[in-house]
């Protein structure tokens, strides 16, 4: 790396530079720079249509970028398909969670990568590993890993979805609106889980509309506005008013980082 970020030392886990993405005549992303350090939680905020989802889709390989650099642990990568991002160690938990309500926690956690013993499902190994994983994440709200996921609360379902993303042993997790539609204690559960991911040295990107949640859990806030960088804030040095200003464009100022627009 020739260039180090102003705030942190070392190589970013993920860095994208000058990302541009067009859908026909629409420029969804216009020269976006973004980075995540190992063990850092970055909040990605912005108004509807600001390009948050598009940026995440570029990072997770669903929509390859038209222009720009994609660096993973300092090395340039060509991420053209979701599997490329997965292979790098990026796990994405989408807002709809993609769980099968008719299956239990174990079956959902291991869906598509079932343990096999003698050609058959190894339920014992999977259940053991599921218990270990949930204990490691201090998820205590799930009473039985044999409970049907459809019978669970939003927070429990989110926990299952996040735990599932960790089975591939990723280095970075992207959470899309993890606290939307959750109650107070449920939100608390999920935010604690995010902290646990950071403690385990993972990079985390949290997309959220809820600034209270963002301020509660992230280290750095990255604002997107009209498909470009809208400002970047250290959580400790920023106020919610400043962030709202950057989101709406009311204040054209930002303490650090570059607004290229």
């Amino acid at each position: 790396m020739t260039e180090t970020s102003p705030r942190t030392d070392g190589t970013p886990l993920l860095e994208v530079r000058g990302i541009t993405k067009r859908f026909g005549a629409v420029r969804a992303l216009n020269g976006v720079d973004f980075r995540v350090m190992p063990g850092e939680v970055v909040g990605l905020v912005g108004d509807n249509g600001a390009g948050k989802s598009t940026l995440v889709k570029v990072i997770s390989g669903i929509h390859p970028a038209d222009e720009g650099e994609y660096l993973w642990e300092g090395r340039p990568q060509n991420v053209a398909a979701p599997q490329d991002a997965v292979d790098l160690g990026i796990a994405t938990v989408y807002q709809d969670l993609a769980l099968c309500d008719n299956l239990d926690v174990v079956a959902n956690l291991f869906l598509g990568r079932e343990s096999i013993h003698g050609g058959l499902l190894d339920e014992v190994a999977m259940e053991r590993k599921a218990n270990e994983l949930l204990a490691e994440l201090s998820v205590t709200t799930i009473q039985s890993v044999r409970g049907e996921v459809g019978a669970m609360s939003g927070g429990q379902r989110q926990s299952v979805a996040i735990a599932r993303s960790l089975l591939g042993e990723p280095k970075m997790v992207i959470l899309d609106e993890p606290t939307a539609a959750l109650g107070v204690s449920q939100t608390e559960q999920v935010l604690r889980l995010v902290e646990r991911l950071r403690d385990n040295g993972l990079g985390v990107i949290v997309i959220s509309h809820n600034l209270a949640d963002i301020f509660r859990v992230v280290d750095r806030i990255f604002v997107m506005r009209l498909g470009a960088n809208g400002g970047e804030f250290d959580k400790k040095a920023a106020t919610p008013e400043e962030v709202v200003g950057a989101i709406t464009g009311a204040s054209e100022r930002k303490p650090e980082g570059a607004a290229t627009r």
Partner: protein
């Protein structure tokens, strides 16, 4: 890493023991009640229904539970039960196959014509018949998945087309009578008394061994295991049912081979759906196809294989029906066969909405429908009444299914 989850003080949602704690009897009792209410215990519900039906008929006509009639009943349900096994797989995907009746007729016609008109040996003739079923199912599954057409429509087209093909295969005479041999033995042979006992004991032993070994593996791994009492009750119930049944049929002609075939297929497909990766994927696709796709499951392949298996089982059922009738004619696979084959599993708790149910519902559902039909025959009711009663039972079952689904939604379970 310890497998015990320690609750932290900040958790307010913890109301019961964590995942790996020993399960109290009171807890499992409450769970049982909950599951009964939310309709998850479809099999238990249908056993109660069956007991009611049997009691009513037995009170009206004491020949109903005689050994002769129970053997007749078990023979009457084998063909539709075999077809239902395939229907269950399709229902688990949340799809429907309206062509199973026509496919059973066509494939049995193919087998009969090869065997009788072309002098083929029974085994190759049966294999070609079943293979034709597999190919038909593969075709229908492929077309509906590839072009995104509802399976309702594709298999409706199939129903018409395969019926036409059946008439064509049967030729001008329209009826092919089977020669005595393996084909007629399928439904016409009975085990000797001793062989019947041995078969029952083997079945119970296999079931008990699997249950005990499964429990031991869980205990060895430090996981929650069902209480020994519950395990003993389950094994005991299976043993009593199997031995009692063999004792009853041995008073008459003995254990029908057809019933062993039916139970064998049901057990095999139950194993496939619950113990293999492929089976897990069927449930996943039926529960949430998009989630399954994102988890890397080949949804297309699962659907094509399931439809192929369903049509293969339709062929097997058709051949069994032919063996019982000793012939294949133009109305084979027609009439109410399709409707009963779909109604059975639904009555026995397999959901029309996909993802919920099990293969045993094919057997139990066929037993319920067969009992109603058999009992009303004994009481001398005509077909109109039979159809209306069966229709009412089906409607009741579907209402229960939907009510259970609404109940799940009300308690936040989709």
């Amino acid at each position: 890493m310890s497998t015990t989850v320690t609750p932290s003080p900040a958790d307010r949602d913890v109301s019961e023991s964590p995942a790996t704690g020993p399960r109290s009897l009171g807890g499992s009792g409450r769970e049982l009640l909950n599951r009964l209410r939310s309709g998850d215990l479809g099999s238990l519900r249908v056993l109660v229904l069956l007991a009611i039906i049997w009691t009513i008929f037995q009170l009206q006509e004491n020949r109903f539970l005689s050994s002769v009639n129970l053997v007749n009943l078990s023979l009457q349900i084998t063909a539709v039960g075999l077809i239902s096994v395939g229907v269950v797989l399709v229902l688990l995907l949340g799809e429907i196959d309206l062509s199973v009746g026509a496919v059973s007729g066509l494939c049995s016609a193919i087998t009969a014509v090869l065997s009788v008109k072309h002098g083929w040996a029974p085994v190759p003739a049966i294999l070609i018949g079943v293979a034709a079923g597999a190919a038909i199912g593969m075709f229908q599954g492929f077309i509906s998945t590839k072009f995104g057409i509802p399976t309702f429509v594709v298999t409706l087209a199939g129903l018409l087309a395969w019926q036409g093909a059946q008439l064509k295969v049967l030729g001008n005479t329209g009826t092919v009578n089977l020669r005595p041999g393996l084909l007629t033995d399928l439904a016409g042979k009975f085990l000797s008394d001793a062989a019947g006992w041995i078969a029952a004991i083997i079945c119970v032993a296999v079931y008990a061994a699997m249950a005990v070994v499964g429990r031991q593996r869980r205990v060895a791994a430090g996981l929650t295991a069902p209480p020994v009492v519950l395990l003993a009750v389950r094994i005991g119930a299976v043993a009593v049912a199997a031995l009692l049944w063999v004792w009853i049929v041995n008073q008459d002609r003995g254990l029908p081979v057809a019933v062993l075939i039916l139970i064998g297929f049901v057990a095999a497909f139950d194993f496939l759906t619950r113990r293999t990766v492929f089976g897990r994927h069927i449930y996943a696709v039926g529960g949430n196809a998009e989630a399954a796709r994102r988890a890397g499951i080949n949804v297309f392949g699962v659907r094509v294989i399931v439809f192929s298996l369903a049509s293969s089982m339709a062929a097997v059922g058709g051949i069994m029906a032919a063996s019982r009738l000793l012939a294949v004619n133009q109305s084979s696979g027609g009439s109410d066969l399709l409707l009963l084959a779909i109604a059975g599993p639904v009555i026995a708790g397999t959901s029309l909405f996909g993802g919920r149910g099990n293969v045993w519902s094919a057997l139990l559902g066929a037993l319920v429908i067969g009992s109603i039909s058999n009992g009303m025959d004994l009481l001398g009711y005509s077909s109109p009444t039979k159809f209306m009663v069966t229709g009412a039972v089906l409607l009741g079952a579907v209402v229960l299914d939907s009510a259970a689904r609404l109940g799940r939604q009300r308690t936040g379970r989709v």
